[in-house]
């Protein structure tokens, strides 16, 4: 607690519960100090009604002499002055005195108490040894006690206590003293509980009557406050605070109800006009002036609120909760302002501002008074609200009283000031001596402009610093903005600007467009006052494009720029460069042609889609784009073929640019300007050697600046030089463009004089003296200019060219830089295999570089023996000339054996690579064409690939001795063909040979990927039949073409060893005694080989003949194989037979086979080979694969000759042909077997079947039927 300058009338801190003392006053005087000191020493538990938590309290008491006036009269509700306990002190120890005086005195005392119905009393009998010694006739002390008890405490014997020599230091006396104190405390508490309980009940009753007419809040207030006082007296501050809070809430509710139309009469007194606004007063524990006003029912709303708050404040500070004070203070101030508004109390303008201002400062002073510096600093967040509120109020007072304007207050404002000051009244005595009182501050601030400024700035900066200290930067900036507005009014634009730019930074960074616009507008005003032309224009541009502003405002700012632009320059160098971002945005750039790549001299158009952000049309004197040129490096590339798709360029030649927020703010995420790098190469001038190379960042200043976190506005203002047009570069220009608001299309014609790559660097729009510059164009916009060599290509019209049919091919000439002049012709060397079929109506189409048809011209084609000359029509450079020619590629006779050379006429004679690629089944022919072009001294060789549409196969079929030739023609192309006139002819015109056609005479259609078979029977009379050279020929045409289009196709083949040499016949007989073959039982297989024809000389070379006993024999090897596991061949499955070389000589071999299954089983296959013994000179290159194994041969040695016709069944159960051919020697090279040509061996039992019955075993056959 502070020291108090004035003693209040009720001094609660020193108030103690009153205890009256009657009887022997000397005794009390002797014990008083001890009693007052000892009573609070021990805490007592206070149990309370209504379920409130028990509390430990230290009791104190104020012991006063008993007087009848002290007792409360009927109806007096005062609690503070209420005597809670009455004590009668006596040290009487003899009955006589007791009877004589004391008893009477006590009775009087008791009757007074009874009169006031007070039951809280205590009689104390003090006994001392001294007295006992003096008196002779000592009654035992109990008797006095007993008497008193008897006389007064009929039922309450505890109302009388004995105190044993309290001033002595003996244990007995100590004991009795303690028990006395305990008794005293207990009784006091009992009294509190009883009396407070009664009081509270009364109070509640009173509160319940609040709806009755005539109820007064002020009266009730006094009653409840009494309770609060008592709690405070008992140091129960929490409870005291609750009383005030209840009053507060009750009052608030009344005000709210009043606002809702439910008015109470008593509230009228609070609605009187506010006449006094001297703020809160927190320096006194109880503001008695206000309390009296309330008591009299004359308090205004502000008085009541002030008083209530001062009490709450006092209690909160007792409870050491100062930060709650600040918080409640702010609520109170806001609430009061609202309540006055709600109750429609008339208030002088500015009066509330004064009241709030004074109150804020008073609260802050009060808090500062009870906290030290560090505590304050740690709790800025609690106080800063009050500081700001005070600042705001002072500012509005300043505005009201004309202290902020440049010219000072006028008379009206002065009058207002006087009125306001009058309402403050005189300064309160508490603060009269302090220099810094809120009252003095306000008076001083309102006294003159200078002192107002001083105070206002002091407060603002204090608030600003506090906000900064606690990290509330946004709030700090808002205060800063408010300061800026103040500076603006004072005409100090420079200071204002710094504050505004600080705020702007924060709004920009967080993307709050509306505050951003507002702040920027204020900055524009500052800049205009400061005559910072360039900055002002830049800001104006931003504002003119700002969608948050009205059209009028935007037009105004736009007009500012235009006015400046059209003013005659004062000096020469008065151009102003501004950033284009606010003025217009490049949205899209479109190249025409879309590839952004043209040949030298061609026209390339750039269409810019500029979105003007200005609200009015702006006439541009010039729109220029500076271009950076890099010459074409030799050998890199030429022609559009090498055009890679550049990043950002869409297929239709457009580049889209990312939208930038026009307000200069970088939207969160869009980030930094693009990095722009230059490569620097230093080459020595003499030999062009590279000396050094480096990379330079062109826009480092922007990038680095950005990372420092400065606002874009700074960038604009600081690096104006960056907006100047780059020197020494080429410029694309368009003059006199009018940019309408919104999208505009501006067309540039690009430079294309030199081949190389052109990069757009900057865009610059000129309006009078103002240039809007876009310093960097990103993504990079680039176009290429190239020069191209003429080119000739020939390509098939269809997907592939077919040989044998007329095919159209397309000639395409890209003229490149060459201009086709009159008389220029293509010279094609003729070839026999591929004649050029020219028709009279042959037209050439001339196309421009972009593929548009320019014209058509007839071609004149002249063919001489060696050369076909095509004279070309006139064609300008970089055009395309197209025409079609029909060519026919003859099908080579037999693609398998291509030896025929194809000669190209002219100087080159080359062997065509007729690769037979069986790619997708089509044989292809590469046909080279040699062409002389007018633009080149060299011939051009162009290869065309033709595909043969057919594939032919032949086969020889036999039926005994009769022979047939089958030709299979497979259509391998994707076209359907009609086939006619299939003929087969013998090449050598062998006499007596007849080929009998077995085919249909009509046309046949061969569908794609299908085959046609043709068959001829060969009939001859001469023996043996020699080698046959056959040619198959047919005519074909596409299925949908007319008959006349039939083209020949031929297939040549050779047949050798046509006649049948041997006939093989097999027979299977059941085992002896069986009717049918049975599965699982051995059957007899008899193979008979019959020679059909006499040996001829021509065949001698084929067969190894042996002269043996005048019989010419040849050796054959047979083999029985069953691949389908139907048969088990028992024993040897192969063997050698010696065959007499004579017609109808037969050799039979028997062996045993076992059928494994029942049913109709096909015969096992029987193969016959030529057997060439080791000694034989190989007639042809031996095939290693056909060598027989040694161990196989070892058995095939003897007795072959003796075997004769009947096959011998050996005891081993296996067929075994044993030859006795001694001449076989192991050391010699291995014998071989060689297959016969197809047709030489006829197997007459081929595909024959034999019935096999199941074995007789009764096998259980399980059949499951499901």
């Amino acid at each position: 607690m502070e020291s108090h300058e004035e003693k209040p009338i009720i001094y609660t801190m020193e108030n103690k519960p009153i205890v009256t003392c009657a009887g022997d006053q000397n005794l009390l005087t002797a014990l008083y100090s001890l009693l007052a000191q000892q009573l609070p020493r021990e805490p007592m538990e206070w149990r309370r009604s209504y379920g409130r938590a028990p509390k430990m309290i230290h009791l104190e008491a104020n012991f006063v002499q008993f007087k009848e006036e002290l007792l409360p009269k009927e109806g007096n509700k005062a609690l503070l002055t209420f005597p809670f306990l009455h004590i009668y002190w006596t040290d009487c120890c003899d009955t006589e005195t007791y009877k004589a005086s004391v008893k009477e005195d006590m009775q009087r005392w008791q009757s007074v108490l009874k009169l006031h119905s007070s039951t809280d009393w205590l009689i104390v009998v003090v006994e001392s040894d001294n007295k006992k010694k003096n008196k002779t006739n000592i009654l035992p002390r109990t008797s006095i006690m007993d008497k008193i008890r008897n006389d007064f405490c009929n039922k309450q014997s505890d109302r009388c206590v004995a105190l044993l020599d309290p001033l002595k230091e003996s244990s007995r006396s100590q004991e009795s003293w303690n028990s006395f104190l305990t008794k005293l405390r207990t009784l006091l508490l009992m009294s509190f509980t009883k009396n407070l309980g009664r009081f509270e009940d009364d109070m509640r009753t009173l509160r319940e009557k609040r709806t009755e007419p005539g109820w007064s809040f002020c009266d009730y207030f006094m009653v409840q406050e009494e309770l609060a006082f008592v709690f405070e007296m008992l140091q129960q501050y929490e409870d005291a605070l609750v009383q005030y809070d209840e009053l507060d809430a009750l009052f608030t509710q009344y005000v709210l109800n009043f606002g809702a139309g439910d008015g109470a009469n008593w509230l009228g007194s609070f609605c009187q006009p506010v006449r006094n606004w001297n703020g809160l007063l927190l320096r006194r524990p109880i503001d008695m002036e206000k309390r009296e006003l309330i008591q009299r029912g004359e308090a205004s709303l502000l008085d009541l609120r002030s008083y209530l708050f001062s009490r709450q404040c006092t209690l909160l500070i007792f409870l050491q909760r100062p930060w709650e004070v600040t918080q409640r203070a702010l609520e109170l101030l806001h609430n009061c302002v609202q309540e006055l508004r709600l109750l429609e109390v008339s208030v002088v303008q500015g009066a509330l501002d004064c009241w709030v201002f004074l109150s804020c400062l008073e609260v802050l002073h009060r808090i500062e008074g009870c906290c030290d510096r560090t505590q304050l600093e740690a709790n800025f967040s609690h106080t800063v609200g009050l500081w700001t509120y005070a600042t705001e109020k002072l500012k509005s007072l300043g505005c009201l009283c004309g202290l902020v304007s440049e010219n000072g207050p006028n008379s009206e404002e002065l009058n207002r000031t006087v009125d306001l000051l009058a309402g403050l009244g005189t300064e309160r005595p508490e603060t009269a001596n302090s220099l810094q009182s809120p009252y003095k501050k306000l008076k001083e601030a309102l006294s003159s402009m200078e002192s107002f400024e001083k105070h206002y700035l002091e407060l603002s900066h204090a608030a600003l610093e506090m906000y900064r200290a606690i990290g509330r930067l946004r709030s700090a900036r808002l205060v800063g903005k408010s300061l800026a507005e103040f500076y603006m009014r004072k005409g100090d634009a420079q200071t204002a600007k710094t504050f505004l730019q600080d705020s702007l930074k924060s709004y920009t960074a967080e993307g709050w467009s509306l505050p951003l616009t507002h702040t920027r507008k204020q900055i524009a005003e500052c800049q205009k006052q400061l005559q910072q032309t360039e900055d002002y224009l830049q800001t104006s541009a931003l504002l003119a494009s700002d969608k948050n502003l009205t059209d009028e405002e935007r037009k105004h700012f736009c007009q500012e720029i235009l006015t400046f632009a059209n003013k005659a320059p004062e000096s020469k160098d008065q151009r102003v460069a501004l950033s284009m971002t606010a003025f217009a945005q490049l949205r899209e750039l479109k190249f025409q042609p879309a590839s952004a790549s043209v040949h030298v001299g061609a026209s390339l158009q750039l269409e810019l889609r500029l979105c003007s952000l200005m609200p009015v049309p702006v006439q541009l004197e010039q729109l220029a784009a500076s271009v950076h040129f890099i010459g074409e490096q030799p050998g890199t590339r030429s022609g559009p073929a090498g055009t890679q798709r550049r990043p950002g360029l869409s297929p239709d030649g457009t580049i889209s640019f990312p939208a930038v927020s026009p307000s200069g703010g970088v939207l969160p995420g869009t980030g930094m300007p693009a990095l722009e790098l230059y490569e620097i190469q230093d080459r020595s001038p003499s030999d062009n050697m590279l000396n050094s190379t480096s990379v330079v960042c062109k826009n480092a200043h922007m990038l680095l600046r950005g990372s420092e976190g400065s606002s874009p506005l700074d960038v604009h203002s600081a690096v104006g030089s960056a907006f100047t047009i780059e020197d020494g570069t080429q410029v694309l220009k368009t003059n006199n463009v009018t940019l309408l608001p919104g999208n505009n299309s501006v067309i540039f014609t690009a430079l294309s004089t030199k081949p190389g790559s052109y990069t757009l660097r900057q865009l610059c729009a000129t309006v009078g003296r103002v240039q809007f510059v876009m310093p960097h164009i990103y993504p990079i916009v680039k176009y290429e200019v190239y020069s191209q060599e003429p080119q000739l290509t020939i390509e098939p019209l269809a997907e592939s060219l077919l040989a044998g049919l007329p095919q159209r091919v397309k000639f395409t000439i890209l003229t490149g830089h060459y201009e086709v002049k009159k008389g220029d012709a293509l010279q094609l060397s003729n070839t026999d295999s591929m004649p050029i079929l020219h028709s009279s109506s042959c037209f050439a189409r001339i196309l421009s570089g972009t593929g548009e048809l320019v014209g058509e011209a007839a071609l004149s084609i002249q063919a001489s023996e060696k050369v076909t000359s095509i004279s070309l029509p006139l064609t300008p450079p970089y055009h395309t000339l197209e025409f079609q020619l029909e060519v026919l590629c003859h099908i080579p006779l037999s693609p398998a054996r291509v030896e025929n050379e194809r000669l190209t006429n002219g100087e080159i004679r080359h062997r065509p690579k007729s690769r037979t690629r069986f790619n997708s089944g089509m044989a292809c022919i590469d046909q080279k064409v040699s062409i002389d072009c007018p633009w080149s001294i060299y011939s051009i060789l162009i290869s065309l690939t033709f595909y043969t549409p057919f594939r032919a196969k032949h086969s020889l079929l036999s039926a005994g001795k009769r022979k047939y030739i089958q030709v299979c023609l497979e259509n391998v192309s994707n076209t359907n063909f009609r086939l006619a006139n299939q003929t087969l002819s013998e090449h050598q015109h062998t006499p007596l040979l007849e080929l009998l056609s077995l085919n249909a005479k009509t046309h046949q259609v061969v569908y794609s990927k299908q085959s046609v078979y043709s068959l001829w029977e060969v009939k001859w009379t001469t023996e043996p039949l020699p080698c046959l050279q056959c040619v198959f020929s047919a005519s074909f045409s596409p299925a949908d073409a007319p008959d006349t289009a039939l083209k020949p196709y031929s297939y040549e083949f050779q047949l050798e060893r046509v006649s049948t040499l041997y006939s093989v016949k097999a027979d299977i007989q059941p085992a002896v005694g069986e009717q049918q073959c049975r599965a699982g039982t051995l059957c007899r297989l008899e193979v008979s080989v019959t020679r059909l024809i006499e040996p001829s000389d021509t065949e001698g070379e084929d067969e190894e003949l042996t002269e043996n006993e005048g019989l010419r024999t040849t050796k054959l090897m047979y083999e029985v194989v069953d691949n389908s596991s139907n048969w088990a061949v028992c024993g040897k499955s192969s063997g050698l037979v010696s065959m007499p070389v004579a017609a109808m000589a037969t050799h039979k071999v028997q062996m045993e086979v076992m059928p494994l299954f029942a049913g109709k089983l096909p015969f096992p296959s029987i193969r016959v080979f030529k057997y060439l013994p080791h000694s034989a000179q190989p007639t042809s290159q031996p095939d290693t694969d056909s060598c027989l194994e040694n161990d196989n041969l070892s058995l095939l040695d003897k007795g072959l000759d003796e075997q004769g016709d009947t096959a011998s069944l050996r005891s081993r159960g296996s067929i075994h042909s044993v030859g006795s051919n001694e001449q076989q020697q192991r050391a010699l090279p291995m014998p071989r077997r060689e297959p016969f040509s197809p047709g030489q061996v006829f197997n007459s039992s081929h595909t024959q079947q034999v019935l096999v019955l199941p074995s007789t075993d009764d096998h259980v056959l399980e059949v499951n039927v499901t």
Partner: protein, 139 residues
């Protein structure tokens, strides 16, 4: 009821802001922006105490003479700010809470829209009507 409703992105730029007397729109923008200071303070304070069971409702951010500013922060750090007229004393804490809950539900619906890019300003009719309902309810 509410005089201004704002949805602010995690990065503190406004996703949605609407106020009733349109002429004082600017003032509300300033108010809401400044309130972010307190929101951040509260978020960081809350974060220290209990990380898990975080209360989304931040309560009264700060009162001014005329308005009360309430805050709410979603788990994805999107902030809702509702400004209420001080003279409207019938509003209790519970009602403010339920307003925020409604706002949050509607905001969730907006986020669920596959055509909405998170981070874009909210232009949803449904959201608009939710906000309108809050603003009209009392006035």
């Amino acid at each position: 009821m509410a005089v201004c409703v704002a949805v602010i992105a995690k990065e503190n730029y406004p996703l949605y802001i609407r106020s009733i007397p349109t002429q004082s729109e600017l003032k509300f923008h300033y108010t809401v922006h400044t309130s972010l200071d307190v929101v951040e303070e509260k978020i960081s304070a809350v974060g220290k105490v209990m990380a898990d069971q975080r209360e989304l409702y931040l309560g009264l951010l700060y009162p001014t003479e005329d308005y009360k500013v309430y805050g709410y922060v979603t788990n994805s750090k999107v902030k809702f700010v509702i400004v209420v007229d001080s003279s409207n004393t019938s509003l209790r804490d519970n009602e403010i809470r339920s307003m925020f809950r409604k706002l949050h539900n509607s905001f969730t619906d907006v986020m669920c829209n596959p055509f909405y890019n998170p981070g874009d300003p909210i232009q949803s009719k449904a959201f608009d009507s939710t906000v309108s309902a809050m603003m009209v309810a009392s006035s």
